[in-house]
Amino acid sequence: MGEALGRLMEFRDDPYAPARSWKERTGGTVIGYFCCYAPEEIIHAAGALPVRITGENRQILKSGAHLQSYCCSLARTGLDMALTGGLDFLDGTVFTHTCDTMMRLSDIWRLNAGFAFHGDVVIPVRLEGKAALDYLYSEVARFKEAVEGYLGPISEGALQESIELYNRNRELLRELYGMRRENPTMLPSDQALWLVASSSLMEKREHNELLEKAIQEIKAEGASAGEGKVPLFVVGSVMDQWEFLKMVEEVGATVVDDDLCTGYRYFDEAAPEDPDPVMSLTRRIADRASCPCKYRPSTQRAGYLVDRVAGSGARGVIFFQFKFCDPHAFDYPYLKDALDAEGIPSLLLEIEHGSVSAEQLRTRVEALLETIRG
């Protein structure tokens, strides 16, 4: 493993280490966010560090008093981290309006987590049409004002610069995915997906530098052993179960592409050039691959998924869902029907942070592979 890739890999077991050390080093402000619709560039342009909170594998201590057990483990473990000091490096949090749980978590968080800054961005459910875009624009602008109210004015130049930095990161991640689609054995999928996830956990300029070097290292090393692995496609929200991905590699498969919000959806579509940076951010949110919480009449998720799977060369699909995730569960039956109609085998795995049974999941993944291999 090359040096830059090694430096990115080393904090996978301690994902918030870079945010903590950044704060120590710079004395700057750290703003957490749960969802990749959050306009990170605005936080970055204000000189603060945006950090994605994805929950973690832990036993719930305190959040059970605020959230019912039918909320997803992302919300329950995330709130638990906040209530037990696990997120003490944060100065504030921003929530985007996606699912019911996240909406309610925002209020519970505001009243109980005790951070100085709290922001909400209401992303409309329908992301097409003038009314939706006007509304979304006003929300992004309102969020910018809220951040400015907390951290001081953000110049247009600074915001354009942050957008460029983020677009560069997206370009690099796209390159990485392209390389792996060509030859999945260049990098195991647990590492590839971590390269995306790590991007939301550290300062973008630093991540760009390391990622660019890591890609060069991976290219220089070329394809490794592991020819003949079955290429799979993963659909879901957060992927932070590295032991699961390592197991997938162990049993002779690899994730070549995905529709995950800590994967492809995080970097899909650059923010377009626009003299008004707020409009640029608005248009990216509206245009990028949407999550099941959102709706774009012109792109049905089923057709989109079938095309993406075909384009990736994957021979099977894993739906990797958190228990009680309504939006993903709601879409699953019709996505599965669409895959069935194309003869693409799929497997539904429901997991919760902190109680992933690797052995049961191994049997299911192996059974999927046996089905694929016939």
């Binding site: 539904l348 109680s355 049974s357 052995e359 059974a367 046996e370 089905t371």
Partner: protein, 258 residues
């Protein structure tokens, strides 16, 4: 040349030796704490049953929960594939396999060639498994093997609303305190299991006929309750516990045939 399949489940280990399409040796023993030893023991017993030496085996395939812990087999295949293959071989008319084992339960849709088309498995839940029945039998002080027969006498099954092993046990205790007969309680437990299995199984297309495998298939009360729930007659094979091992042996035979 004969081939063998070894199925190391959470509760029992089974082996089947297949020669020329016939089961010439079988075995069944408790898995205990060491699945490697259990697998070894199951194979040795089946070899003795068949009256052949291990060297005579052309290929050995392992399956089941403990399949990765043994080192004397040529290949490991999941119990999902093996149950499908085993059931299809003995009962080609079956397209849906319901496997109720010691620790997990699953439903498998099988295609015309005995391959897995789709499957669902329970998740971190003992409801509907052998373990659940063991707990219930203990709570009612009834021998595990008696449960099926007893429940068939019931005319008014008790209502057991929870199918969580822990909650159902306390519910059973409440019914006992209310003076409900054991016969009706056991029948109620079987109904609760059937509802649970049905809710899981209908996530895959259910195509008749349905066959039941695994140790719980020996409980006629559960089978009856499932038949009511599925509104279909369910095939109970002669050796339901050996279906996985048989399937593993069939996979071994297929591999040898190239």
């Amino acid at each position: 040349m004969p081939v063998a399949g070894v199925d190391i489940g959470s509760l029992t280990a089974k082996a089947v030796i297949l020669d020329d399409g016939k089961m010439i040796g079988t075995s069944l023993l408790m898995t205990g704490h060491n699945s490697r030893l259990a697998g070894r023991g199951a194979l040795d017993l089946a070899l003795r049953d068949a009256g052949i030496e291990e060297g005579a085996l052309e290929r050995v395939v392992a399956t089941g929960y403990g399949r990765l812990s043994i080192d004397f087999t040529d290949e490991q295949v999941t119990e999902i594939t093996c149950h499908a293959r085993g059931a299809h071989t003995t009962h080609p008319e079956a397209y849906t396999v319901i496997d109720l084992g010691g620790q997990d339960s699953k439903a498998i849709a099988v295609d015309d060639r005995g391959r897995v088309a789709e499957f669902v498995m329970n998740d971190k839940c003992a409801a509907g498994t052998g373990r659940f029945l063991e707990v219930m039998a203990a709570a009612l002080e009834i021998d595990l093997d008696q449960l099926g027969g007893i429940s068939l006498q019931s005319e008014a099954p008790a209502s057991i609303s929870s199918v969580c092993t822990v909650f159902a046990e306390s519910e059973v205790v409440s019914r006992v305190a209310e003076g409900v007969s054991k016969v009706d309680i056991v029948a109620g437990i079987h109904q609760a299991i059937a509802s649970r299995i049905y809710a899981m199984a209908v996530r895959i297309p259910i195509r008749e006929r349905i066959i039941i495998t695994g140790g719980v298939a020996r409980n006629g009360g559960v089978v009856r309750a499932l038949e009511k729930r599925f509104e279909a007659t369910i095939i109970v094979p002669e050796m339901p516990q050996h279906m996985g091992a048989l399937g593993a042996a069939i996979v071994a035979r297929e591999r040898c045939a190239g």
